[in-house]
C-alpha cells in the first residue's frame, strides 16, 4: 500500500509536466485554427462593413488619448535618459537622433501595443465572453450569421489597420515629448533638434515600426477574440478570459517584437 502511494507521488510531477505540455501544444493548435478561421472571415466576402467601422472607431479613435499620453511621457523620459547617457561620451548632441530612433523602431509600436493590449484586448474578451455566456453567439449562429464574420473578422482587421496609425501618432507625439524636454529643460535649439531628427531618421526606421504595429494589432485583437469566444463558466469565466487575453497579448507582443527586430536588423544589412 505504502509503495503504491510513494509511486503515485513520484509519478505526479511527471504527469503534471506532461499534462501541461500537452495543454500548451493543444492551445497553440487551437489558437492557430482560430486565427486561420478569423483571417479567412476577414479577407473573404461577405463582409459586415458597419461592424468593421464600429471596431475601427472603437479600437482606433478611442485609443488615441491613452496612446498620446503614453507617448509624450515616454518620449520625454527617454530624452532625459539618453541625454544623460550621451553625456558620458560628451555626445549629448546626438540625443535627438537616438531618441527618434528608439521611439520609431521600438517604443512607439511596443508601448502603443501594450496599452492597446490592456484596453482593447480586455474589452473584446469581455464583450465576446459575455456574449458566449448568455448564448448570444449560439443565437447568432441560429440566425444564419457566422460569428467569425460578424464578430472576429472586423476586430482583426481593425486591429491590423488601426495600430499602425496609432503608432504613427505615438511616434510623432513621442518625438514631440523629447523635443519639449530638450528645448525647455536641456536648452537645445528647437529648430536644430528637429532638423537633426528629420535628417537622421530613415524611412525604414518608421516603416519597420509600423510593420511591427500591424503584427501587434493582429495579436491584440486575436487574443481578445480567442479568449472571449472560448470563455466558459459564466461571470467568472468572462473575468478569466479578460485576464488571459491581456497577459497572452503582452507576452506575444514581446516575443514577436524580439523576432521582428532581429529580422529587420538583419534585413537592413
Amino acid at each position: 500500500m505504502a509503495e503504491a502511494e510513494a509511486a503515485r507521488r513520484v509519478a505526479n510531477p511527471i504527469q503534471v509536466l506532461g499534462r501541461s505540455t500537452l495543454a500548451a501544444v493543444r492551445m497553440v493548435g487551437s489558437v492557430g485554427v482560430f486565427a486561420v478561421r478569423g483571417v479567412a472571415a476577414a479577407l473573404t466576402p461577405p463582409w459586415f462593413l458597419s461592424q468593421l467601422w464600429r471596431q475601427i472607431v472603437a479600437i482606433g479613435f478611442f485609443s488615441l488619448p491613452v496612446v498620446g499620453l503614453t507617448a509624450v511621457f515616454t518620449g520625454a523620459a527617454l530624452a532625459l535618459n539618453i541625454f544623460t547617457g550621451g553625456g558620458r561620451f560628451n555626445a549629448e548632441q546626438v540625443m535627438p537622433q537616438i531618441v527618434a530612433l528608439g521611439i520609431t523602431r521600438e517604443l512607439g509600436p511596443v508601448l502603443a501595443a501594450l496599452m492597446l493590449a490592456g484596453r482593447v484586448s480586455a474589452a473584446i474578451a469581455a464583450e465576446i465572453g459575455a456574449m458566449r455566456a448568455t448564448e448570444q453567439i449560439d443565437a447568432m449562429r441560429t440566425l444564419s450569421t457566422d460569428p467569425f464574420r460578424y464578430l472576429v473578422g472586423p476586430r482583426l482587421l481593425a486591429g491590423v489597420l488601426m495600430l499602425p496609425l496609432l503608432t504613427a501618432v505615438a511616434d510623432t507625439i513621442g518625438v514631440a515629448g523629447g523635443w519639449l524636454v530638450a528645448t525647455r529643460v536641456l536648452e537645445f535649439s528647437p529648430t536644430i533638434y528637429i532638423r537633426n531628427t528629420l535628417d537622421f531618421l530613415q524611412a525604414w526606421d518608421v516603416v519597420s515600426g509600423l510593420i511591427k504595429a500591424a503584427v501587434f494589432g493582429f495579436i491584440v485583437a486575436l487574443m481578445g477574440c480567442y479568449h472571449g469566444y472560448n470563455a466558459s463558466g459564466g461571470a467568472r469565466g468572462v473575468g478569466r478570459a479578460t485576464t488571459h487575453a491581456v497577459v497572452s497579448s503582452a507576452i506575444l507582443i514581446f516575443a514577436s517584437d524580439y523576432l521582428l527586430t532581429t529580422f529587420f536588423t538583419h534585413a537592413a544589412q
Binding site: F61, F62, S63, L64, P65, V67, G68, F89, N90, A91, Q93, V94, V169, T172, I173, V175, A176, W179, P190, T191, I194, R195, T197, L198, D199, F200, Q202
Partner: protein
C-alpha cells in the same frame, strides 16, 4: 479627446516639416558634384548654403573611370547657385553627420538643372590628421580632440585631397 491628440500630433508634424526645411521634394532641381573622398556622406544628408539647408543629397555613387565619388544634390527650386560655387563635405562637429556646405561664387550665370559644381573639397579624415600629428612627435598632440570621444566612421585612408 481623441481629436485633441490627433490635432496635437498633426500640429507638431507640420511644424517639424516646415522647420526641417524642404518639406516637399517636388520642384527640386538636381545638380552634381564630384569628390575625391566622400567620407560618411550618405543620401539624405543636408545640403546647405551659409548654414541654411537648401536641399538634400539624393545619391552617392562611384564614377568607374575616374574613381571619384559623384554626389547628386536635390536643391530647392527657389535657390539659385552661381556657376562657380564651391561644394565642401563637412560635419557639425566630431559626431555630426557628414553634409555638404556650398559657398556661393561670384559668377553671373547660375547652375542649371543637371549642372555640376566644379570646385569641391572632399571629406576630412580625422584619424589621418591625428595620426600625422601624433606620429612624427611620438607624444600626445594638443590639437586633437579629446581621445575618449569616438570619432565618426571615416575610413582610415590617405588624407583628404582637394579636387
Amino acid at each position: 479627446m481623441g481629436v485633441v491628440v490627433l490635432a496635437l500630433a498633426a500640429g507638431f508634424l507640420t511644424y517639424s516639416l516646415s522647420v526641417g526645411g524642404v518639406a516637399t521634394k517636388r520642384g527640386n532641381y538636381e545638380i552634381s558634384a564630384k569628390f575625391g573622398e566622400a567620407g560618411s556622406l550618405a543620401p539624405g544628408a543636408a545640403v546647405s548654403v551659409a548654414g541654411v539647408k537648401v536641399g538634400t543629397v539624393s545619391q552617392v555613387t562611384l564614377e568607374p573611370k575616374t574613381y571619384l565619388a559623384v554626389a547628386k544634390l536635390s536643391i530647392d527650386p527657389t535657390v539659385k547657385l552661381p556657376a562657380d560655387s564651391t561644394a565642401k563635405i563637412t560635419s557639425d562637429g566630431l559626431l555630426g553627420g557628414a553634409h555638404i556646405a556650398i559657398a556661393p561664387g561670384a559668377a553671373l550665370d547660375d547652375l542649371k538643372p543637371g549642372g555640376e559644381i566644379e570646385n569641391t573639397q572632399g571629406a576630412v579624415d580625422i584619424f589621418g590628421l591625428i595620426g600625422s600629428v601624433i606620429r612624427p612627435q611620438g607624444g600626445a598632440s594638443s590639437d586633437a580632440a579629446a581621445s575618449s570621444t569616438p570619432a565618426p566612421a571615416n575610413p582610415a585612408t590617405q588624407p583628404a585631397e582637394s579636387y
